[in-house]
Amino acid sequence: MSTSKVATMHDAVADLVRNGDTVAIEGFTHLISFAAGHEIIRQRKRDLTLARLTPDLIYDQMIAGGVARKLIFSWLGNPGVGGLGSIRRRIETGEPAPLEVEEYSHFGMVGRYTAGAANLPFFPIRSYFESDLPVANPRIREIESPYGDGKIFAVPPLKPDVTIVHAQRADAAGNTQVWGLLGCQKEAAFAAERVIVVVEELVDEAVIRADPNRTIIPGLIVDAVVVEPFGAHPSYVQGAYDRDNRFYLDWDAITRDEAATQQWLRDWVYDLDGRAAYIDRLGAARIASLKPGSAPSGVVDYGDYR
């Protein structure tokens, strides 16, 4: 029987995220751990390399908070809305400090985590032909197939020091279950040295064992389990709450202006002591407005084989 890995967000970030680390907060539009990102800002971590397919609002906020020196990514934007001003300013003007970037395509990033998780020296990929991306990023290499059937591209493994994922549920040992978009959380977690799982709900081990096909991350590779309901807001959790699109639209105006961005960080991150205070400030009505209708899955029978 495993011992409990349940920790507060403060302690998990303080213990497991270190200055200079490569950090991946993964989750493709779905299940983005804003709660962990805000705690990293609040603890004023520095010189991080942030990896994520879609930096999204969370990395825009973290980069505005000064935690990062480098960004590894494949699509930089506010999905369905527009741009990410804080990141763009760092890239376009170098203000207030230059931001190093290392850029791939989505499949290239997924391949990098996959190689990292599988302990491979590279991931072969049929992308990047006749694209300027390998020119911009020399870590994308053209290689000859060892079987004599032409050229292919290779991307290097990505092994984050810390991967942080948000999920619907986990048990105290860190066995984690997700439904809805799976993104590349599994690959990013297996590739990482340390893993923090943030969940809507802590469940008994029996709940996990009753539906093992839904487990994407075993507790074996998890270092901390943080219970933080609504911790993915303003992104969403399938079945629990919808994306708060009003926030994504509001951010478009905030991020265009450095002073407004810093004011937002004061109001919603630095001046709050954690996620509970954030939810209080958001208000019950706003939270209730994001609750979806119900669409339960059917029940499958795994069978009893004694």
Binding site: F28, T29, H30, L53, T54, F73, S74, W75, L76, G77, P79, G80, G83, I87, R88, I91, E92, E103, Y104, S105, H106, F107, V110, G111, T114, I125, R126, S127, Y128, F129, E130, S131, D132, L133, V135, A136, D149, G150, K151, W179, G180, L181, L182, G183, C184, K186, E187, Y236, Q238, D242, R243, N245, Y248, P292, A295
Partner: protein, 271 residues
């Protein structure tokens, strides 16, 4: 009609006025008639494919890079990672499976992309305006576009036409189209083992372009209300115009109702 051009679909006259964006979305949706599997890009493709699924292509299998095959969105997805693409879908898979087995494995008939810049041969830039190291405008980047351009059997593009977007020379080639011309593109695609044949149509707010035998786009359809003067003033090269240029049939009342009442009541894509 020029070789290779398809009928853009319903021709029933509209009783209502419509915007340029509505015409563009309707024309793009109609291009999907007869297609089976469509990989949905960010932005305008999202509304065009959702309209197609409700009109000319009810059996269209929508593939979203977030990891969904066979999406049946009940509302217009706010982004390509919206929860509505999951509920009721045929399959939800990891991004690894989506890109490896569905796209690179050759199951996608049409990759539907948007673009910031395009050249006459359908090469696409979504990365930077200006030099890469010191861009004047940092754009989103590839996302899945550079692999869609290579692995989808054909590529459709939807984008508004302007002198800044239809350019003689793109600032960065994110996703390859017909490269320097059809002959070169065919050789490179064959020798490289690409499954994709490259771009076949570009739908804009002014008309519909198809690609000729030499790999250059040619205006086959001009949208109602648009003029050749509009076309020439929003393009960075001397455009090729079909000898039998036709007028795109206006949006039908049904198409407009679906866009306005069901898909985009807030006018996000159509204003």
């Amino acid at each position: 009609m020029s070789a290779g051009a398809r009928e853009p679909g319903p021709s029933a006259a509209s009783a209502t006025a419509f915007s340029k964006s509505e015409m563009m979305i309707v024309a793009a949706a109609r291009e999907l008639a007869g297609q089976r599997v469509c990989f949905v890009g960010v932005g305008l493709p999202n509304i065009a494919v959702n309209l197609a699924q409700r009109t000319v292509a009810p059996g269209l299998e929508l593939v979203y890079e977030a990891g969904v095959f066979g999406a049946r969105p009940a509302r217009l997805p706010l982004s390509i990672g919206d929860p509505t693409i999951v509920t009721g879908a045929t399959a939800v898979v990891s991004m690894y499976e989506l890109f490896s087995f569905y796209l690179q494995g050759g199951l996608v008939d049409v990759g539907f992309l948007g673009a910031a810049q395009i050249d006459r041969r359908g090469n696409i830039n979504t990365t930077v305006i200006g030099p890469y190291d010191h861009p004047t405008t940092r754009l989103p980047g590839s996302g899945g576009a550079c692999e869609i351009a290579i692995n989808a059997r054909q590529v459709f593009v939807i984008m508004r036409q302007s002198a800044r977007s239809f350019v003689e020379k793109i600032d960065f080639r994110t996703s390859p189209g017909n490269l320097g011309g059809a002959e070169q593109a065919e050789r490179i695609r064959r020798e490289g083992g690409w499954l994709g044949r490259g771009p076949s149509v570009v739908v804009t707010d002014l008309g519909i372009w198809h690609f000729g035998d030499d790999g250059e786009m040619r205006l086959d359809w001009l949208h109602p209300g648009a003029t050749l003067k509009d076309v020439r003033s929003t393009i960075g090269w001397e455009p090729r115009i079909a000898a039998d240029l036709a007028t795109t049939p206006a949006p039908t009342a049904t198409e407009l109702r679906l866009i306005r009442e069901e898909l985009d009541p807030g006018g996000v894509y159509t204003k």
